[in-house]
Every structure is written in C-alpha cells, then in structure tokens.
C-alpha cells in the first residue's frame, strides 16, 4: 500500500510547492552521496533519473540520446558533489535541472550542427517513428507538435514543470527570476498552446469538411 501510494503520488503530476520534508531529505541524501555513500546516491538517481530523462527526451526526441544526456548530467553532478564544488545548499533540485537544461541545450546545438545542410530528415523520421497510429496517440502527438512551436523560454517552463515535475519555486531559482514572472510565463505558454491546438483543430475541421 505504501509503495503503490508513493508511486501514485510521484506520477500524479508536479509535486506540491515547497515540501520542507522533501527538501531536507534531499539535502541529507546529497550530503551523504558527496561523502561516497552509494545508497544515498542511488536514492537521488531513483528520485530524479526519470524526470531528467523525460525533460531531455521532450527536447531531443530520441530515447537513446535522452539516456546519454541523463547519464552525462548525473556524471557531472556526481563529480561536482564529490570534489566539493556543490555550493548551492538547499537548492539541489534547481541546480540539478540547471545542469540538465545546459546539457540539453548543448545536445540540441550539436544536433543542429550535425544536421546543418541536411533536410532535417533524421529528426522528422525519428519523430514519425515514435508516432504510432490510434486516436490517443494522435492527441499526444498534436500536443508534442504544439510544444515544439513554442519559443525557447516558454517551452523550458512547460517542460521543466510537466516533464521534470519541477516546482515553480525551483524553476524561478534556476532561471534567476521571481516566482511571479515564472508563473506568468507558464500561464502565457498555456494560452499559446491552447491557441495552437485550436488552430490545428480548425484546420482539420476545414479539411474534413
């Protein structure tokens, strides 16, 4: 009951804002991991691994690349922790996701350089491969396409919040902006997504009609 309850809570969407118990527990794990405690390190990886993966996959669209990015992010984090250069006490989550976002941006830049001069066919093919038939998949794919149409700043907030399950407070710390600004940007991004989805729906309606 306990474990299924916890699994439900983890998957029920973004976490509640500012859970002090979680933050303390997390910092304790960070402290132990930085002293070489493998169990504490595993607990951190279990806690954040899939969230970092989801964030990366939303951007790079390839599971294998997202996996590489995730490993690279945790390697950076482990190195910084053990060499004592982690100085953001109480801000592990925002620090981790800042490392993740930087790594994702690097990967996107690299992919763009690789595909410069090409017809961008590889990325399109990969996306097409992942999109399978079926009405529920169709809805998901429409949403993915709509997210891709957002500007970088809006997209980052959406992906951090809904893929990475990062609290607004942590996003604000990451981006070094007031929480109000982040909330406003999230609200604006939702409005844009809604507009894009409505436009697509109208366009489909026209074709069908």
């Amino acid at each position: 009951m306990g474990s299924s309850g916890r699994a439900r809570r983890q998957d029920a969407g973004p976490p509640a804002e500012g859970g002090p118990q979680d933050a303390e527990g997390c910092e304790r794990l960070v402290r132990l991991a930085s002293r070489g405690d493998q169990d504490a390190w595993r607990a951190l990886v279990e806690l954040y691994g899939r969230r970092v993966f989801a964030l990366a996959k939303s951007r790079v669209r390839r599971a294998d690349v997202a996996e590489e990015v995730t490993q690279s992010v945790f390697l950076t984090v482990a190195t910084k922790l053990t060499e004592g250069s982690y100085e953001e006490r109480g801000r592990f989550e925002s620090w981790l996701f800042r490392v993740a976002m930087n790594r994702v941006r690097d990967e996107i830049r690299r992919a763009r350089r690789r595909h410069e001069g090409e017809d961008n066919g590889t990325i399109s093919r990969v996306v097409a491969d992942e999109r399978t038939a079926g009405p529920e998949r169709w809805e998901t794919d429409r949403l993915r396409s709509a997210i891709e149409e957002l500007g970088d700043a809006d997209r980052e907030v959406i992906e951090l919040r809904h893929h990475g399950q990062v609290a607004f407070k942590e996003i604000a710390a990451m981006l070094d902006e007031p929480v109000g600004t982040v909330l406003a940007r999230h609200h604006r991004a939702l409005g844009k997504l809604r507009a894009i989805l409505e436009r697509d729906e109208a366009s489909l309606g026209k074709h069908d009609g």
């Binding site: 969407g13 002293r35 993966f53 893929h163 609200h187």
Partner: protein
Amino acid sequence: MDETRMNESHEEQQVVLALDALGREERASAPHDLPDQVVLATRGVIDSATPAPIAMPVAGRWARVGLGLAAAVVVASAAWLTLGSLRAGSPIEADVVLVSTLDEDIETWELLDGSLGVGGDSEFALLAEAIDGASAGIDLSADEMFEASGAL
C-alpha cells in the same frame, strides 16, 4: 468571472491535464534499468569521495578546539626545529667543530707518534694545512677531508 473567462480557464485546465499526462508518459518511457545504468556509470566517481571524519560531529566544538591546539603545537614545534637547525647548520660553526675535532686528534696523534712511532712529518704537514684551511674559512673537498683524516 464572466463566461468567456470561465471557458478559457476550463480549456487551460484541459491543456494542463494533457501536459501532465504527456510528462507522465515520457517519464514512463525511460528504460527500466536507467537508475542501474546511471549508478554504474558514476560508481567510480562516488567511490572516490573522501568520507567525512566520524569523530568531528560526535565530539563537536571541543574536538575542534583540541585539534586547533594540537595544530598550533605542531606549527610551533616545526618553527622551533627549523630555527634550531639553521643555527646548528651555519658554515662558521661547522668549521669550528672541525677544527676542534682535529685539535683533539692532533694531540692523540702526537701521543701515538711519540710512543708507537707512527705518522711522519709529511702527514703532519698535510694535517696542519687542513686545519689552517678550515680555520681560515676555506672549504675543503670531501677527498681533502678524507685525506686529512687519513693522515691521522
């Protein structure tokens, strides 16, 4: 709240729910063994961390005070030893020590020379030259020193 705003709010809520579902799907698409892979890839790094000393949190402030005092004693001792060795190691004092040692040996040699008839004028001259050189502050090579002591 007017009807338009209520509709907007409802539609945005739908988008939020759809985004949460998408995020959940992406997280679930991570390989089952992702944590194992990450832990394996980072094991060496975490193992290389220096474990924190256990005594420090237990003994607390007094342990830190004690360690501070111990460190101060070590530093003071090192400084005292360094100064002492500098004094003992000065070239002038070394020469004086050499000369005094040779003086004692000359007396011994003179005694031996008188009783057993060993030694000779040339060896004594060489030894006297060594004493003169040392007392005048002239450095003698290792060979010269060996030769001089051999004369005894």
